[in-house]
């Protein structure tokens, strides 16, 4: 039997308005993994072992091995522990978690249940991006359905395992996608990241041991339990297990989410997204969300879509947001917009980021508006050096990396802007 190329979006009929509901999910082998775990009383450490074997890596952006993260949770801890799902999807270019939650919310719930069982956790929160209100409401309904059917609550399916799950919505702050900012936000505070260490596994929500995973990460877990970690790993490639949803946006004919095995050639993904709009030439691509370095089109066309291949090509897979730019794109203007975003969204806690993101934006803006100087290009790199690695969280790095990569790969275009006070394109 050939293996399915899809896990997270498999068997869905988006035209059916009830497709997300519990009964439909059950027809797609939904909650089979949970039932198996509870009826066979599978030991929690066996589950973590299976997830480790699968080489599932965090789908939110950092790519940290999920099984390893789960093993950091203290086992003999007496008090409360928490499980948190990071559905605060706001990385420009990324829109995969929205589709998982609106089309397959129970897959996320089941994944969280299995995680909770494996780590001995009794309560969890799903933090949903504030801008997708209808998806938050759908998650509320799905949680109600799961509770009514005995999948959530006390003594789940008659076992001694209990887990409560609640949805919490954001209200417009990119920084809350950073896990410790998200915890602060859940506690009803400004979303300003915490110092690490201590890591959430020892001091998380309300100061209790906490594990935070991305929506897509949790959603992959039921399949791993049903089919085994080895099968999941084989879908992708070594160290890059499974399938991944890539959100393709920008200058393509069919923007959208495409779930493919990790290691799929970029050229294949581009073809799935309908190819370049108007048959134009691919100029550049940001392969992992706006925070990741841009790569020139010809480099991308030789790259496979997995964590290790993209890192080798000089960028990161990140959240799997693939932003496509054709040869009509002005890279100065593109960078100006991204720099404005980081300036706008810096939480203001660390000086290098708070001040530096403003400097980055203002300098790129003056180049874009014809007031730049040639030495501005080195000044931008110098600023990036003074931000990156000098802040509490990765937002500073996220602001610096695109600047550096844009100047590295498209320096001539920036210089042209300075000299001619207009776009090359």
């Amino acid at each position: 039997m050939s293996q399915p190329a899809q896990i997270l979006l498999a068997g869905l009929s988006p035209s059916d308005p009830d497709d997300w509901r519990l009964k439909n999910y059950e027809q797609r082998e939904g909650y089979v993994a949970l039932r198996k775990i509870l009826s066979e009383k599978i030991p929690p450490e066996k589950i973590i072992e299976e997830v480790k074997k699968s080489a599932l890596r965090g789908r939110g952006g950092a790519g940290f091995p999920t099984g390893l993260k789960w093993s950091f949770m203290p086992k003999q801890y007496e008090g409360d522990k928490y499980l948190v799902c990071n559905s605060d999807e706001g990385e420009p270019g990324t829109f995969k978690d929205r589709d998982i939650m609106r089309h397959n919310p129970h897959m996320l719930i089941e994944g969280m249940l299995i995680g909770a069982y494996a780590m001995g956790i009794r309560a969890g929160y799903n933090y949903v991006h504030g801008e997708i209100w209808d998806v938050y409401e759908r998650m509320e309904e799905a949680v109600d359905e799961a509770r009514a059917a005995g999948y959530l609550g006390d003594n789940i399916l008659g076992s001694d395992f209990s887990f409560q799950l609640y949805n919490h919505h954001g209200y417009g702050a990119y920084i809350c996608g950073e896990e410790t900012a998200l915890l602060e936000s859940l506690e009803g505070k400004k979303g300003q990241p915490r110092f690490k260490p201590p890591f959430p596994a020892s001091f998380g929500l309300y100061g209790k041991p906490t594990t935070i995973n991305n929506t897509e990460t949790f959603a992959a877990v039921p399949w791993i339990i049903r089919h085994g970690g080895d099968k999941f790993l084989q879908l992708g490639k070594p160290n890059n297990g499974g399938t991944k949803i890539f959100s393709v946006s920008g200058h393509v004919n069919k923007p959208g989410n495409y779930e493919v095995p990790l290691g799929t050639p970029f050229a294949t993904l581009l073809e799935m997204a309908g190819g370049m709009r108007g048959g134009r030439k691919l100029k550049g691509c940001i392969p992992g969300g706006s925070s990741m370095p841009v790569l020139p089109g010809d480099v991308m066309m030789q790259t496979d879509m997995d964590y290790d291949s993209i890192a080798k090509a000089g960028s990161f897979l990140g959240s799997g947001a693939v932003i496509i730019m054709d040869d009509t794109t002005c890279m100065v203007r593109a960078l100006e917009r991204l720099s404005y975003f980081y300036y706008e969204e810096s939480c203001g806690q660390c000086t290098p980021c708070r001040e530096g993101t403003g400097w980055l934006y203002r300098i790129v803006h003056r180049i874009e508006t014809g007031k730049g100087r040639l030495e501005d290009l080195d000044l931008l790199n110098n600023l990036a050096d003074n931000i990156q690695g000098r802040t509490i969280c990765a937002l500073g790095d996220a602001a610096a990396m695109p600047v550096r990569a844009m100047i590295q790969h498209f320096r001539d275009e920036f210089a042209y802007h300075v000299e001619h006070k207009k776009c090359l394109v």
């Binding site: 420009p92 829109f95 801008e131 209200y171 417009g172 936000s185 932003i323």
Partner: protein
């Protein structure tokens, strides 16, 4: 200060958190208050603070940190258009230009009849549907061509 209906909604949100962590409900409480009042006055925020046993300053901090809270009077319909890079590559700036022309206002301005306020938004996590906008924070509209914008404005003007 808030209607019984709003308080009921806040009370439901409070059931999600441990009894000694009422502050966790502040974001939803402020969103509920804003839905009722249109924007958050100091009095409304003070009321929420008292209701959740929080210092007022802690509520102000939250309201000013998250950008979907309205801290000033606002038009009946707040239209927030995402102009971030992926949306800009797929027509967001053209959509904004169309709104400016149709409404005669720029970002952070309200039409003289008090009906529409135009805002620039950051990533809404729906880049594949660009151009994307929100009406009053909660209604997302996708693939907003000029024709669809005209239709939306007509529907909201009724």
């Amino acid at each position: 200060m808030l209607s019984a209906e709003s308080l009921k909604k806040i009370d439901y949100e409070l059931t999600k958190y441990p009894a000694d962590q009422k502050q966790s409900a502040v974001m939803s409480a402020l969103a509920i208050a804003q839905d009722e009042k249109g924007w958050l006055t100091t009095e409304t925020m003070d009321f929420v603070a008292e209701y959740l046993d929080m210092p007022s300053i802690a509520v102000y901090e939250v309201a000013t940190f998250y950008n979907m809270y309205n801290l000033q009077p606002i038009g009946k319909y707040k239209i927030t258009v995402c102009t971030n890079l992926p949306c800009a590559l797929s027509g967001a700036n053209e959509a904004v230009a169309h709104f400016r022309e149709r409404l005669g206002i720029g970002f952070n301005e309200t039409t003289t009849d008090g009906k529409f306020t135009l805002k620039e938004g950051e990533c809404m996590g729906a880049c594949g549907d660009a151009p994307v906008l929100l009406v009053n924070n909660k209604r997302m509209c996708s693939f907003m061509s000029n024709d669809k914008i005209d239709q939306l404005l007509e529907d909201l003007s009724k």
